[in-house]
Amino acid sequence: MSWAWFHKLGSPKWFFSWSKPWALPVFCFGCLSLLIGLVWGLVFAPADYQQGNSFRIIYIHVPVAMLAQSCYLALGVAGFVFLVWQMKMAPIFIKAMAPIGAVMALIALVSGAIWGKPTWGTWWVWDARLTSVLVLFFLYMGIIALQNSLDDQVLANKAAAVISVVGLINLPVIKYSVVLLETLHQGPTFTLTKKPDMPPEMWLPLLFAVIGLYCFVAGLLIWRMQSEILKREYRSSWVKQEVTEHGL
C-alpha cells in the first residue's frame, strides 16, 4: 500500500488546493440533505404513539449528538497523529474542529433538555447520555480555552494534541462511570435512542438528517481549515498568490 496520500495530506499547501473545489458542494449537499430530513421529519413522519409530536426533536437532537461525539473522536485521532508523525495538518484540524464540536455538544445538551421536559417531566435528568455530553462540552471548552491562552504556536499545537489524546483515552472511562452512576441511581428506564422497531418513515428522515449534518460540518470544517492554513502559512509565496489573485 502506498503511503503517499498520507504524506500529501500532511502538507497544508496540498490540502488547500485539493480541498478548494470541495467545500462549497459538500456544504450545499449537506444543507440540502439536512433540510430534506428535517422537513420530512417535521411534516410527514407520523407522530410517536407514546410521546406524540415532541419526539420530532429527535431529527435534530440525534444527528447533533452523533456529531458531538464523532468530532471528539476525530480530535483525539488527530492529536495522536500529530504526536506520532508530527503532521502539520493535525493541529490545524484540531483548531478548526474544536469550536464545531463545542457548538454541537451545546445544541445536543439544550435540545436534549427541552426534549426531556415533556418526556420525563423535568428539564434535566442525570441520564448517562446527557451527563456524558455535558462532560464532552467541558472538554471542548477546555481545548478551546487552552488554545486561546497559549501564544506560542509550537506549544499550542503540542498542548491541543496532548489534551485531545488524553481526552480520547478518558472518554470511555467517563462514559462507563456515568452509566454506572445511572444504574445505581435507578434513573429513568426509558431510553431515547433504542427505539423498538422504528418504522422506516420515522428513521429514513433521520438518516437524511444525519448524513446532511455530517456533510454540513465537513464543508464548514474545510473552510475553517483553509482559513487557518492561510493564517499559518502566510509567508509562503503560494499564499500570497492565492490571496492577491483570487477573490474571496
Binding site: V135, F138, A145, Y176
Partner: protein, 220 residues
C-alpha cells in the same frame, strides 16, 4: 544530576514549603466543614453523603497543590535543566509526582479519622473511603500534572487547569463514592476499587510521557 539527587532536592523544597501543604490541608478541612453548615448537619444526610463530600474536598485540595507544581521550576530555569540533564524526563516527572503525592496525601489520610467522626461516617465506610483515597488519588495527581504542565507558561493558569482537568476527575469521584455507598449498603465493592486501581495504573503509564512532551514544548 542523578535521579536520587533530584528526588532529595524535591523533598527538601517541599519541606521548606511545608506551609503550603499545611494550607492545602486547612483548605481541605474548611471545604468539608462547608457542607454540614451549608446544606444539612443531621446524621441522616451526612452519613450517606460523607464519601462524596470528602472526595470533592480532596479533588479541590489536590488540584490546588498540583496546579503550581512546575511554576517555580519553570521560572528559575530548573525545568530547563531537567530537559537537558540527559536523564529520562518522564522518570524525573514520575519522581516529582511521587514526592508530591506523599507530602499531600499522607497528611490528608491522617486527618480522615477526625473528619469521618465529624461526618458521622460508620467505621466500615471509613475504611473503604480510606482505601479509595489510597488507590484513587494517584490518578488525580497523574492527570492533574498534565494540566499543570500545559499551563505552566500562562500567568493566570489556575482557572484553566480546573477547566481542563476537572472533567477527567469525574470517573474517579464516581467510582470512589459508589464504592463507599456499596459498602454501606452491604454490597460488594472490590470491583469498584479495582476500577480505581486500573485508572491509576493507566494514568501512571500515560501521564509521565504526555507531561514530558508538554514540558519540552513549554521550556523553549
Amino acid at each position: 544530576m542523578t535521579y536520587s539527587s533530584f528526588l532529595v532536592s524535591e523533598f527538601l523544597v517541599l519541606w521548606r514549603r511545608k506551609q503550603d501543604v499545611f494550607n492545602a490541608l486547612l483548605f481541605f478541612v474548611i471545604v468539608v466543614v462547608l457542607f454540614p453548615i451549608g446544606i444539612n448537619s443531621s446524621p441522616e444526610f451526612l452519613a450517606p453523603a460523607a464519601a462524596g463530600i470528602v472526595w470533592c474536598a480532596t479533588v479541590l485540595a489536590i488540584l490546588m497543590a498540583v496546579e503550581g507544581m512546575f511554576k517555580e521550576d519553570y521560572h528559575d530555569g530548573s525545568l530547563e535543566q531537567l530537559v537537558v540533564s540527559g536523564l529520562s524526563l518522564p522518570l524525573l516527572i514520575l519522581l516529582k509526582i511521587v514526592a508530591q503525592w506523599l507530602t499531600v496525601v499522607l497528611p490528608l489520610l491522617l486527618m480522615m479519622p477526625l473528619l469521618s467522626e465529624m461526618l458521622y461516617l460508620p467505621s466500615s465506610g471509613f475504611w473503604v473511603l480510606t482505601m479509595t483515597l489510597l488507590v484513587g488519588t494517584p490518578s488525580l495527581f497523574f492527570i492533574g500534572v498534565i494540566g499543570s504542565a500545559l499551563t505552566v507558561s500562562i500567568k493566570q493558569g489556575a482557572m484553566l487547569v480546573m477547566l481542563l482537568i476537572l472533567p477527567f476527575y469525574l470517573p474517579v469521584i464516581i467510582f470512589s463514592t459508589l464504592a463507599v455507598k456499596a459498602s454501606q449498603a452491604g454490597l460488594p465493592y472490590s470491583g469498584l476499587l479495582a476500577m480505581l486501581l486500573a485508572i491509576s495504573l493507566l494514568s501512571l503509564v500515560i501521564s509521565p510521557f504526555m507531561t514530558a512532551i508538554v514540558v519540552k514544548a513549554s521550556v523553549n
